[in-house]
């Protein structure tokens, strides 16, 4: 049962990591808490529903969601964040929260308040031994998370784009002074981050078979906890933090009992950790 619970934690943690990755990319270069990222995540899930139901193709659903969300992310950057770069951090944060409220209500008005189902079936076989049992879809989630992470890691470490991103994350102004088109870099961050959120949206929607307007509410703020735990702007840190949170929630729920409602655990760990190390788990000193 221990192995099974760890497996449960890893599946949950993979979903957390996927949602938080885009947030990390954006925070890395812009130092903006992009709460509306969760709105993109929900958009991805809805696009998934709209494409999957008539076509029955998960691949097509994921690709369309990624395309639509990339565009949405780019639009958000261009019209919401770019005009207020350099303002105190509270300004973009409130814009982001406002945009998120707007989106949640827009989804409700356009798609209706009811929960939609996204009955994804997957041909991959499950995995079952005496100690652990994972369905094909759970394996798919973990594999997709790992694949996206490796891809992102390659992009960051092995390409010129990654180099430019890291330079921009160090210091946006200096990077610009050295001829890096930071506007493009930031745009790429929003595109990639939003595409990953879209994938996460479709996968979460399919995993629980529920897509609804407020499905982003809890992820919106929990993802913030994940990126702080991961050191704000660190891609591997975010993945580790996502997995750690998934495991921590699963394991405390089972062995410590419902010590506190699950959603509080993330923040409790966060507050305690910040008191010990105010720059996050893997954060660099500011």
């Amino acid at each position: 049962m221990v192995v099974q619970q760890i497996a449960n934690g890893v599946v949950l943690g993979s979903l957390y990591a996927l949602v938080a990755l885009g947030l990390t990319l954006v925070y890395g270069v812009l130092r903006i808490l992009h709460v509306a990222h969760a709105g993109v995540f929900v958009l991805g899930a809805y696009v998934g529903v709209l494409v999957y139901l008539p076509t029955g193709s998960l691949a097509l659903a994921i690709v369309s969601a990624a395309v639509v969300c990339s565009l949405a992310g780019l639009i958000m950057y261009r019209f919401l964040y770019r005009p207020v770069l350099g303002r105190p951090p509270l300004v973009p944060l409130i814009i982001s929260i406002g945009a998120f409220m707007f989106l949640e209500d827009l989804y409700r008005l356009v798609m209706g308040p009811y929960i939609k189902s996204l009955p994804v079936t997957i041909r991959a076989a499950g995995f079952e031994t005496a100690a652990v049992r994972l369905t094909g879809y759970q394996l798919f989630i973990v594999a997709a998370a790992a694949g996206l992470l490796l891809g992102l890691w390659w992009l960051m470490r092995g390409t010129r784009l990654g180099l430019a991103w890291r330079a921009s994350a160090q210091d946006l102004e200096t990077a610009a002074a050295h001829g890096i088109n930071t506007d493009v870099i930031i745009g790429v961050c929003f595109v990639i981050g939003s595409a990953i959120a879209a994938v996460a949206g479709v996968m979460v929607g399919g995993y629980y078979n529920q897509v609804y307007p407020s499905m982003g509410s809890v992820p919106a703020y929990k993802a913030l906890a994940v990126i702080v735990l991961g050191g704000m702007g660190s891609v591997p840190g975010t993945v580790i933090a996502g997995l750690a949170l998934g495991l921590a929630e699963t394991l405390t729920m089972v062995w410590v009992g419902t010590f506190l409602p699950r959603d509080a655990i993330a923040f409790l760990v966060l507050i305690l950790m910040l008191l010990v190390k105010p720059t996050g788990l893997l954060g660099r000193a500011s």
Binding site: R31, L33, L80, P83, V84, R87, P89, L90, V91, P92, L93, I94, I95, I97, G98, A99, F100, M101, F102, L103, E104, D105, L106, L109, Y221, L224, A225, V228, M232, T258, L260, P261, D263, A264, A266, F267, L268, L270, I271, L274, L275, P278, T279, G280
Partner: protein, 302 residues
Amino acid sequence: MISSLYLVTVVTMTCIYIILASGLNIITGYAGQPNLGHAAFFGIGAYASALLTTKAGLSFWAALPLAILITAVVGLALGVISLRVRDDFLAITTIGVNFVVVSVFLYFTFFGRALGLGGIPRPTLFGYNLQKPQYLVLVLAVVALVMALCWVFSRSRLGLMVTAVREDEIAARCLGLDVTRLKIIAFVLGTSLAGLAGSLYAHFMTFISPYDFAFPVSITIMCMVVLGGAGTLWGPVVGAVVLASAPELLRFIQDYRMLVYGSLLVLLMLFQPSGLLGMGSAFAGRELRLAARARGRVNQGG
């Protein structure tokens, strides 16, 4: 008389929001410390007052100051945290505080869990039980007191020093300002007001439940401060009146309420980030307008 009980309710809630927004304004507006968990302190005040009256048998008049004190102690703790954790991290920490506090209300039987706490008495004065209209008079008196306090604070040297901390912490330290103490003072003052509002809310509603103090409430209070103009005396009041009465006035668009709310916030931050009464606004005080004009001149001058 009965025909105005609805109005009494709306005005009472607006007043409670004015106190909340004014308290947050001290923390976020004057001292410049983000606090997205103000509703947690609202809740702590409400629960403290409710428990003190229903379980400890105290009267409202004894419970109110104690509730403020209890909230202030927790606010002090957050103030200490704010010394160590800053900016974005502090913003997220305060969100976390809100989630954790609501969870505590939800989890422990002592706090009534999901059932909340009921049977909270209305205050009595000279043997009379204060019903809603009389209670509103009390709330209005408290609001007047709170605004007087905020007025004194905003004009005092203390207020000026707290604002200096917001503007530049290191420069403030180098002038001999005890930034640590000033930040803690701001947190304690701001959260005490939230505790006061919580107590007033509990005895107005007569029952409370954890979700009354959830994170979206913090967002609403923050919106009030930002909409009206953070760091101005009357900004939070205007913000609270507009946003607390907007749902009432905008009932005809009730289905699009959050849509309007959300876009209002976005547009305001994009085009008038210092709020309705903030710098550069047509509604701003004369001094601020002049300053903004002067800034415009300098910018044009290159």
